[in-house]
Structure formats: C-alpha cells, structure tokens
C-alpha cells in the first residue's frame, strides 16, 4: 500500500521540485532587483486567480497559449520537434488580418462569412508555412529544430517587411488596417481580453485528445513518435504522416494567430508576439504537459494567469516582465531532469540485460 503511494508520488514530486527550483531562482532575481519575492508572487497569483475579472483576463491570455501549446504538443508526440509554431502563428495572424480587413477587394465577403473565412485564411497560411519544414524533414531529413527556428525568424522579418512595404494601415505605428468590425470574434465581456475563441481552443484540445486516444491515426502517431523505423516497417507510411502531422500542427498554430488578431488585437502588428512569443510559450506548455492535451489545457491556463499577473506586477511594482520569462525558462530546464526514477522499470531493464531466462522462471512460478 505504502509502496503504491510512493510510486504515485513520484510523478508529483518530479513536477513539484522543478517548480520549486524555478521559483527559487525567480526569487533570487526578484531580490537582486530589490523586491520582496513573496509580495511579487502573491500579487501575481492574486491578480490572476482570485477574482472573476482576473479569471476572464487570465483566460484571455491563456487562449493563444492553449492553441500554440496543443499545436506543439501534437507535433511533439509524434517525435517531430516543431519549434516553428511561432512562425506559423505569424503567418496565420497575418493572413487572417488581411482577409478580415478586406484587402485585395475581399471586403465583398458577406458579413456572416467574414470571420470564419478569416480564420480559414489563418489556418491555410499556418498549414502552408508548416509544409516547408515538413517536406524538408520528410524528404531530406533536415533537422526540424534548426529549420523551424530559421523559419520563425524568416516569418517575423517577412511579415514585418510586407506590412511596412505593402499593407501599412492608418495607425501611427506599424500595422495593417484594422479588421472590419463584422469580422471580429466577439468578446465574452467587452472589458476583458477573453473572446469566444476560448471555446474554439477548448474544442480543439478535446478533438486532439480524442484523436490521439481513440483513432487509428492516433495509434499511428504514438508509434511514429516512439519508433520511426518500426512504424515504417509495419506500413504506416511515415513520410506522408510527417507531412500530415505538420500540417495539422501548423493549422492549429494558424488558428492561434487568427484568433489573436480577430479577437484581441484587431490588426496585424509586426512583432506582436514577442518576449518570448506565443509559440515559445506553447513550447513550454507542451514540454511541461508531456504532450498530454488535457495537461496542455491546464498548464496553458496557469501560464496565462502568470502572464496576466506579471503584467500587473510590472505596471504596479516595476518588476520587469522578463522575470516571468526567467522563471519559465528555468522551469523547463529543471523539468528536464528526472529526480526520482520509477525503480521498477529500471530493475526490469537490468533483468532483461542480465538474465531473461531467470525472469521467465519467476513468471512461471
């Protein structure tokens, strides 16, 4: 019984210890800057999680992170290190902003279709941009991490260039024209950041969860993510699947970009996702969630709260928002270690190495 308890507490400990380390490191940085870490952390939590309004803001910040998190996790669980969600999100946002604002004479789109078509444009843009690393991986076996990060830089620079050179709107800052009001995704309450896109995000999480758990495609994904050569040898057509998985991941990233523009920003600004970027936050969430869709949802909401709380702390106390980035970076770093091994598995490995016959005998007994 106590043995069972021990085994169950291992994953909990493995999750809590990095959290403690990361916040301890954050506390050191807070104190260097001359603040009391307890005040800072307290204010973050209080702002984000103790009032209805706080929750509405938290969900507003969480919404794109949920989407980028699930986009990343979906690729990661197939062993594809799609760090390019950031770039896919940029193009998704850019495309949605152009269609939503009615560039290229697209303002003739009927009112009811403006919003869905803008989202669709975001999805297509995200997919197209994800197709590049997908094809490079599937047919040339190029390192996905390197290509996707490069493509992130290209996306950021290119959308900035396109905005400034061809699509500059009427604002004093660099941005496209604002989208038509009829293309907006309405907010749940006008005062708060969160829009109805949050329901779309949650729905996507549930769909991804269902697909991974229950479908034959999900079965193949889990095999591909674990052992590529095996999956190919038993006929899973890995090349096609790699492209497909990337396209789905890119599509979700495109949704993230589109909903951020249509629901929150109302136009496309170059560098709208920085420090460290919504795609990167999705990466954090996916790693911490072990690519589990439901865990992605939970952790993304917590991260959304941290973000909202930290912004409040920055404006009220003057602690730079970078503190949160330090804590998040440290969190992943400390999370990469297994502090407690589940001994059982380890012993079994030795068993296998040392003496399979002996083990069989035990099993027979």
């Amino acid at each position: 019984m106590s043995d069972n308890l021990k085994r169950r507490s291992i994953p909990v400990l493995n999750a809590v210890i990095p959290l403690a380390f990361a916040f301890a490191l954050g506390a050191i940085f807070t104190m260097i800057a001359g603040y009391n870490p307890l005040t800072v952390y307290g204010l973050i939590l209080k702002t984000a999680f103790t009032s209805g309004g706080g929750w509405m803001q938290t969900l507003g910040f969480a919404c794109p992170i949920i989407l980028t998190g699930i986009a990343t996790a979906f690729a990661f669980q197939s062993g594809l290190w799609n760090i390019g969600v950031e770039g896919q999100l940029y193009f998704g946002a850019f495309a949605a902003a152009l269609v939503g604002a009615g560039y290229f004479g697209l303002d003739c789109i009927p009112v009811g279709l403006q919003m869905p078509l803008s989202v669709l444009a975001g999805i297509l843009a995200g997919m197209l941009y994800a197709a590049i690393p997908a094809l490079l991986k599937a047919y040339l076996n190029a390192n996905v991490v390197v290509t996707t990060i490069m493509l992130n830089y290209i996306a950021i620079e290119l959308t900035e260039f396109l905005t400034k050179a061809f699509f500059q709107g009427d604002q004093s800052y660099d941005s496209t024209y604002a989208i038509q009001e009829t293309a907006e995704i309405p907010k749940i309450m006008s005062r708060y950041r969160v829009s109805y896109a949050i329901f779309l995000a949650v729905a996507i999480v549930l769909v991804v969860w269902f697909v991974s758990r229950r479908t034959s495609f999900g079965y193949e994904i889990s095999a591909i993510g674990r052992q590529l050569e095996f999956s190919e040898a038993v006929g899973m057509r890995v090349r096609k699947k790699i492209v497909l998985i990337f396209l789905i991941s890119g599509a979700i990233a495109g949704v993230a970009g589109a909903t951020e523009v249509l629901g929150v920003n109302k136009n496309f600004m170059p560098n709208f996702s920085t420090n460290p970027g919504l795609g990167w936050q999705g990466y954090y969430v996916a790693v911490l969630a072990h690519n589990n869709p439901l865990a992605v949802l939970l952790i993304a909401i917590i991260f959304g709260g941290f973000r909202y709380g930290s912004i409040a702390v920055q404006s009220k106390l003057g602690v730079p928002l970078d503190l949160l980035n330090i804590i998040q970076g440290a969190l992943i770093l400390f999370y990469s270690i297994k502090y407690f091994h589940e001994n059982k598995e380890k012993i079994q490995k030795h068993l296998k190495k040392a003496n399979p016959a002996k083990k069989e005998e035990q099993q027979n007994a």
Partner: protein, 525 residues
C-alpha cells in the same frame, strides 16, 4: 599449471534479481576454457565481472593468486585480461592500426641533443609499423591501413583479437566468437585459438555452440540460470547431447522433427531477376530469382553482408529495386508498401527485431496488432476497439505461450525469446500466404527457439510458403526443404536441404564454388 583466474563465491545482483549466484571458477594458465549456457544463463554477467565492466556484489576475484578489483576494463587490461565482445567495439571510420592502438597511442618525439621531448602529436608512422609487425608475428591476414568499415566480419574479429594482443594480455576472453562466421572462418578461428594456446595464451570462450566447444576447448564450464552447474574435461564422455542437457536442465531434442508432408507444386512466391543498388551505387542484390511453392520452406544460406539484408528489404517493401519482379500467387507485389504487402498476405519477421519488428515502449497488446491495426476487427470507422485489442492479446499470449509478468507490459520488459514470439504471433495469426522471416531465432533461448521452429513448420504444413534467412546454418538446414546460397548479392547455388553437407554449403557461401545453371530460374522465368 596454476590457476591464472579464480573466482570465489562470486555473486552479482541487480536490485532483487540475482544474475550470478555464488560462482566458483578456476581457469588454469595456458588452457582453453569454454563457458557454455543458454542466452541469459549469466555467462556475460560473469565475464563482465572478470573484465571490470560490472563489479561483483559479493565474493572475490583472484588473478595469479592475488586478489584483484577491476573498476573498469582498463584495469582488467592492465592486469592482463582482454575481451573480444560479440558486437565488436571498433570505430568504423578509423583504420585497422588506429583501432588497435586506440587508447594507448604513441606520440611523436623530438630529439634535441640527448634530450627527448614528447610532442602532443600522434606518431602515425611508428604506430603503423608496430602493428604491421604484430600482424606478422601472429600471422593474421590484415592490412593495417584498411578502414574498419570496409572489412568483413571475420577480419574485424581479427582486429579485435590483435587489439588485445597488442595490449599483451595473458587471458583472452572471446564472447560468442563464432556467431557471425561461416564454417570455414570458424575452422580458421579454431586453428588460431590452438596457435595462441601454443604461444602460452590462456583463452576463455563463451558460446552456446556445442560443436565448436568440442573442437577447441580443454575444459568446459556449464552455466544455467545464474549458477555454475559443473566444469568437466572435454573428452569423449562429454557429448553434445550431454552438454545440452546440462545447459537446459532437461533432455533436449537437438533435431527438429518435420512432418514429411511433400512440397506442393503450386508456386506461391515467384521472384525474378531482382536487383538493387546500395547508397554507394554498388549492386548488392544481383539478378536474384527463385520460387517458393506451397508447403515449402526455402532457406537462404550466406555469410552476413552478402545481400541478405537488402533482399529482405526488397521483398518487404522497404527498399527500391533497380529491376525485377516479385509475384505473390501471380499478383505483382514488388514496389508495394509494407501495409499493402500485409493486406496481400505477406507476413514479415524482420532481421532487426527491436528496430523494425517491435515498438519497445508500446505495450504488448498494441504490438500484437501493429501493421494489422486498420483491420476491421480492431478498427471501426477509424476508431480503435481497445477491448478487442486486449482480447486479442489474451488469446495470443495463450496460443503462442508468450510469458509476460504484468497484465500488459511494454515489450521492452520481455526477454528476447518472448519478444520474438510477439512478432511470430502477430504475423502468423493474420493468416499470411507467405512468411518472410530473417534471423527468427537470433538471441533466443532454446525453449523459445523450439517453439518458433515448430510454428514455422506448422505454417508450412498448412500449405503456405516460407522464406527463411538465417546466419545459423544448422537452422537453415534443419528447417528448410530447399536451400539457396547467396554470395555477393547473387544466388550461387541451390540444394536439397536433406542431402547437402555443411562443408559443401560453406564452399558456396565463401564464393569458392558456384553453380552454372540454377534450377529455380527454369520454367516460367
């Protein structure tokens, strides 16, 4: 003669599991000692302790009468114990001599007057010379400048042996040295072992091949389930049957019993003029043709690396052919993808079981359906039926005698034999017309081997065709109805399995002999 190595009450535990239990072993100076036992009997654990890779939990080790403790292979080598592993530990892009001197390179020296200054640069010329002398001294056929990646398996083994001799070891441990060699190379190795013995070397051979033990050992120690059962002198009383019985703990049938059902006349798999090139553009499968009929097992004999792996890849849809055709019951199946092949009734037991046959971290139940997971039994309208998958697992576990500890553990927790049974169960239970099997019993214990052999023979008797590649010549000969020999990517001989001798096969395998007209190409080619 005195004991050069002595183990006293040596015990090794991993957690709750005892791999070696109270081993007492004494090896005399200058003798050839064989240590035999089944896979997993604890031979390798014992040797790893002698060689410093593992440290004993209890007991002590004596070298030349002195208690010693080896913390790493380096300690063991310095004391004078060297080991040649079954899987060679050589760096493929380095040359023969670089591999031999690896770890104890000689640096260039600069002479200024009487003083010698060590430069930090390696003296390749001198190293090469020393190795060349060593090759001559022991009369090994090797070129010091060849890169390891260009060498045959036999030559690599010689490099490994020289690597140890260069380090002037007194005791040479050979781990399964003949597993990958052809009969002629085995004879050569046995001769070399006799030479080394004459030069005063002590040799320990770990193996499960009884004939070779009989041919070269002075004394034989038998291990079973972590214990040293007995050590006997290699004389006429120590017959192969007796040794096998000691290894397994019960009488063993060393021969497979066939049903005697005659081979059918209807062809199942017809391969014609199949060719393929490797990445370097060299033709590795050359104009291969053969036919397998109903109720027939066709065995492929050959030295590893003569195109068997590529032939298997071609037939299982993993590699691009340059020419040829493959027909399954007159349907062209060359260029089909693995999933299409399975749909058409091709069962596959791949050579590399852990890379291509099984997904280690997936549970047994999932492994038992992979490749067939879209069949209507397990998958309705894209949704997996996990209840049915569990049911299938329970059936298979029973039917194929797969021994698992938990309810549905990951395959990584299974022994080699049971893991292989998972593949056999998966492929046979889905009703293949032809089974393509490569190395089906490599690294599998005797009990599971017997079971797998019986399963393959049963499939044949059901009117199916079996294509069998194995580096164990005795396996090919005892299972197959017909044997083709592959050398350098070509079929060089075809034989009735019953009547051909091992030596005859060996001559063809090495390329020394070749048939002009092959029977398999006749008729409808």
């Amino acid at each position: 003669m005195s004991a050069i190595i002595e183990a006293r009450h040596l015990t090794k535990r991993f957690g709750i599991f005892t791999a070696n239990n109270d081993i007492n072993l004494s090896v005399q100076e200058g003798e050839v000692r064989a240590i035999i036992g089944e896979n997993g009997a604890g031979k390798t654990t014992l040797m790893n302790m002698l060689y410093g890779i593992l440290q004993p939990t209890e007991g002590e080790l004596l070298f030349k009468g002195q208690p010693v403790q080896f913390h790493s292979p380096k300690d063991a080598i310095e004391a004078g114990i060297g080991m040649v592993h079954q899987h060679f530990k050589l760096s493929p892009s380095l040359t023969v001599y670089e591999n031999i001197v690896l770890g104890i390179e000689t640096n260039k020296k600069l002479k200024i007057g009487n003083k010698e200054i060590n430069l930090p640069l390696i003296d390749n010329k001198r190293e090469r010379k020393v190795v060349e002398d060593l090759i001559q001294k022991y009369n090994f056929s090797l070129n010091p400048d060849d890169k390891i990646r260009d060498l045959s398996i036999g030559a690599r083994q010689r490099v490994e042996i020289l690597k140890m001799l260069y380090r002037q070891v007194k005791v040479l441990i050979l781990d399964e040295p003949t597993a990958v060699l052809i009969p002629q190379e085995v004879e050569e190795l046995i001769a070399k072992i006799h030479d080394l013995k004459r030069m005063g070397q002590t040799v320990i051979i770990i193996t499960h091949k009884l004939n070779e033990v009989k041919a070269c050992a002075d004394t034989i120690s038998v291990m079973r389930r972590g214990q040293l059962i007995d050590t006997i002198v290699n004389d006429d009383a120590a017959t192969a049957e007796k040794l096998a019985e000691m290894m397994v703990g019960r009488p063993v049938l060393l021969r497979v019993s066939k049903s005697g059902k005659p081979v059918g006349d209807k062809p199942v798999l017809e391969v014609r003029h199949l060719s393929a090139k490797n990445a370097e553009g060299r033709e590795v499968v050359r104009d291969v043709s053969f036919t397998i009929h109903e109720n027939e097992i066709l065995g492929v004999a050959g030295i590893e690396g003569n195109g068997q792996t590529e032939l298997m890849y071609l037939l299982t849809g993993l590699m691009k052919p340059t020419a040829g055709s493959v027909k399954l019951r007159s349907k062209e199946i060359l260029n089909e993808w693995p999933d299409e092949l399975r749909r058409d009734g091709v069962g596959v037991v791949p050579e590399d079981r852990y890379k291509q046959g099984l997904c280690l971290s997936l549970p047994v139940s999932n492994n038992l359906i992979s490749g067939y997971h879209r069949r209507s039994r397990f998958c309705h309208a894209g949704l997996m039926d996990y209840k049915e998958i569990q049911k299938n697992k329970d059936e298979m576990v029973k039917l194929y005698d797969i021994r698992i500890s938990a309810d549905d553990p990951p395959v990584s927790a299974l022994s080699g034999g049971n893991a292989q049974k998972v593949i056999i169960a998966r492929e046979l239970s889905n009703g293949p017309e032809v089974l393509l099997a490569s190395q089906p019993t490599r690294g599998v214990d005797i009990g599971a081997t017997e079971f797998i052999h019986r399963s393959i023979l049963a499939l044949r008797d059901q009117g199916k065709a079996v294509f069998l590649i194995s580096s164990e010549l005795s396996e090919v000969k005892s299972l197959a109805d017909r044997i083709i020999v592959i050398h350098d990517g070509r079929i060089v001989g075809e034989f009735d399995a019953e009547s051909v001798s091992f030596n005859e096969l060996g001559l063809y395998m090495s390329g020394a002999k070749e048939m002009k007209q092959l029977a398999g190409e006749g008729g409808n080619a």
